[in-house]
Amino acid sequence: MIAGLAFYLFAGILIASAVMVVTSRNPVHGVLFLILAFFNAAALFLIAGAEFLAMILVIVYVGAVAVLFLFVVMMLDIDFARLREGFRRNAPLGLVIGGILLIELLLVAAAWRFAPEAAALRLQPVQPDGVTNTEALGRVLYTDYVYAFQIAGLILLVAMIGAIVLTLRDRPTAKRQDVAAQIARSGSVVTRRVPIGAGLAETGIARPPLPEAPKPKQVEHQGGGHH
């Protein structure tokens, strides 16, 4: 009963926020509604017992993809009102294509036959021996498919190297942190006890003149500097 109520609650919010994604005038609001939609979809997955998918949806889609969208929307100065100018003119074409897709979907749905065991599987997505689906996926991923999993990691490493090769530039004017110089810096900072109410000028404690600081040495960057 409660699960049923929760389902309709989350599903309702999901659909409402999905509608808002496409209708809101401000693209930033659109992306924020998209994030709301992702959260509600994750909740639906939780209700269905697929907690791994729920986690992935939040971590990957909300944590990475939606934030990336947000960055893109905020950084690119796109005039969305202008993009919509042709909306009315192109609406008939869009309707025709949408109609064709709808008919195709209906045809597929009409011919659809559920597998006999589908209903039972849907009621019990968790394996009978109490293994959660995160654990079940992990078991397969780290045993049968460990090879592909490791190569995927390697591909990501190569992508990282590639991005650095193609984009990292060392500008001679770039200011970099020199940790060693910072730590070695001493003598220019002193602590004095100052009588309460006395001004610095009156007690004669002016800031001692800074010794000629050694120029921060040029950091060899490519050989392991701090980015």
Partner: protein
């Protein structure tokens, strides 16, 4: 199976070497990192080849059956490792002259080679795809390695976009085969689609799997740069830095060809009739386009691109034969092609005027007068690529055509011979320009010893292959026998 990692030793070694060299490259001083990492990478590749040569050649599965090490993969891996090592050596002088000497070059070649070696050892569609991506991603970066050069970045971008398209087609094919067969494993597929035995009726190849196979062939044809998926080749070859082009034209193609042979001969080995027509079509189109389109080229790298398309067409003649003999011919062809092509690119890298690398065919004029040895070497490579006896290239073509005739594809062999006659025109035109045209400007005399050395060795290998062909032919024969069980 279990977790016995002995068969995977070459890949594990390369992987660890790559990761260690990444750290070494970051920690070494800027001026020396490129040289140090390049030397160590070549060393790693050589050690990797020795590990393979010393390993057990009987078929061994590992990592849940996704990986197989057998004589076929061992032969191709040694080719790939040698090709990659030579590509790294060829590159050092060039990168230094162009002021783009960075240690990541060698690392990317190393990781790409690792991916290629995983490709030729793939025993499931999953491993095939992952290996393919691991080999392709560094290649995209390498093509754009000269990042301040507009044409290099254009080449990288083109290669990347079209490569992604090809991956999509390949994956679509894999998913269709999976959907209709219910497995990704080559062994299980070979069993399901295998020949009828006493206790089993003959299997059927579902139509969906056939369509999937066609898509897989299309995806692989892109990697092979075979017609009609060759469009990216001339632009990418021309725009990429020349050593990268050498690597693209050799190792990348050899790996893709090896993969194609394994996919066609192992899971679908009983269904030659289903894929033969597709391969024959691609082969004919590649041979003809390679022969005719190269005639009008003025840039030698573009010419090599079309020449490579033609060579893949000839290699596919052997694949189309669909027999052990055909696989054997393809392997010999690939080995000879690798050596000839690396040597040719060595010659291209020797052509410099006033510190600039020149790559127009007309720039070759007068080479015979000023640099007789380089001209002789390039002449050897051109005659060999044209398939003129007694040079190595002739034997590759001979074996491939013999295999086709044995398989009843005589007309295909005849077409191959005719198109190689056409192709001889533009190879010989280069010889004519070198020996009979007057030079405009003198060539630079300073040369990089590694480039000269590689060119000389490959030229001698091409020239004297006829004297001592035994080792290569025996190794290729054993490799082919290992695949076609």
């Amino acid at each position: 199976m279990g977790f016995d990692l002995t068969p995977v030793l070459p890949e594990l070694f390369l992987l660890v070497a790559g990761l260690v060299l990444l750290v070494v490259g970051v920690l070494t001083r800027e001026g020396e990192a490129a040289r140090v990492v390049a030397t160590l990478s070549v060393l790693a590749l050589v050690i990797g080849s020795i590990i393979i040569a010393a390993s057990d050649k009987s078929p061994q599965l590992a990592l849940g059956g996704h990986y197989v090490a057998d004589g076929f993969s061992a032969f191709l891996k040694i080719l790939l490792f040698v090709g990659a090592a030579l590509a790294i050596l060829l590159a050092q002088g060039f990168l230094h002259d162009r002021r783009i000497a960075r240690f990541e070059y060698s690392l990317l070649v190393l990781f790409s080679t690792l991916g290629m070696s995983m490709m030729v050892s793939a025993n499931s569609f999953l491993a095939l795809y992952m290996g393919l991506e691991l080999s392709a991603l560094p290649l995209y970066v390498l093509a754009a390695f000269d990042r301040d050069n507009l044409r290099s970045t254009e080449a990288g971008l083109k290669y990347f976009v079209l490569g992604a398209l090809a991956s999509g087609m390949l994956l679509y094919g894999c998913s269709l085969v999976y959907g209709f067969a219910g497995t990704l494993s080559f062994d299980v597929l070979a069993d399901a689609f295998g020949a009828a035995t006493a206790e089993r009726p003959p299997a059927l190849l579902p139509l969906g799997a056939v369509v999937g196979l066609v898509f897989i062939i299309a995806g692989l044809a892109f990697k092979l740069a075979a017609v009609p998926f060759h469009m990216w080749t001339p632009d990418v070859y021309e725009g990429s830095p020349t050593p990268v082009t050498a690597f693209l034209a050799t190792a990348s193609k050899v790996a893709a060809a090896g993969l194609a042979v394994r996919v066609l001969m192992h899971p679908f080995g009983e269904w030659t009739a289903q894929w033969q027509q597709v391969v024959v079509l691609i082969s004919i189109a590649s041979m003809l386009l390679g022969a005719f389109a190269a005639i009008g080229q003025a840039n030698i790298k573009r010419l090599m691109a079309y020449s490579g398309i033609g060579h893949i067409g000839y290699a596919l003649v052997g694949v189309a034969a669909g027999s052990e003999r055909g696989v054997y011919a393809v392997l010999v062809y690939l080995a000879i092609y690798l050596v000839m092509t690396l040597g040719t690119f060595g010659c291209i890298l020797l052509m410099r005027r006033q510190g600039q690398y020149v790559e127009q065919i007309s720039d070759l004029a007068g080479l015979s007068r000023q640099r007789p040895m380089a001209a002789a070497a390039l002449g050897v490579f051109m005659f060999s690529q044209a398939g003129i006896p007694p040079l190595a290239g002739f034997f590759g073509k001979l074996l491939v055509f013999l295999a086709a005739v044995e398989a009843g594809l005589t007309w295909l062999a005849v077409l191959g011979v005719l198109s190689s006659c056409v192709a001889a025109f533009y190879y010989l035109r280069i010889v004519k320009v070198m020996y009979f045209d007057e030079a405009a400007e003198p060539f630079d005399t300073a040369v990089h010893p590694a480039v000269t050395g590689i060119t000389a060795i490959t030229a001698l290998a091409t020239l004297f292959f006829i004297v001592w062909p035994g080792p290569l032919l025996r190794a290729a024969g054993a490799a082919a026998a290992a695949l076609v069980r």
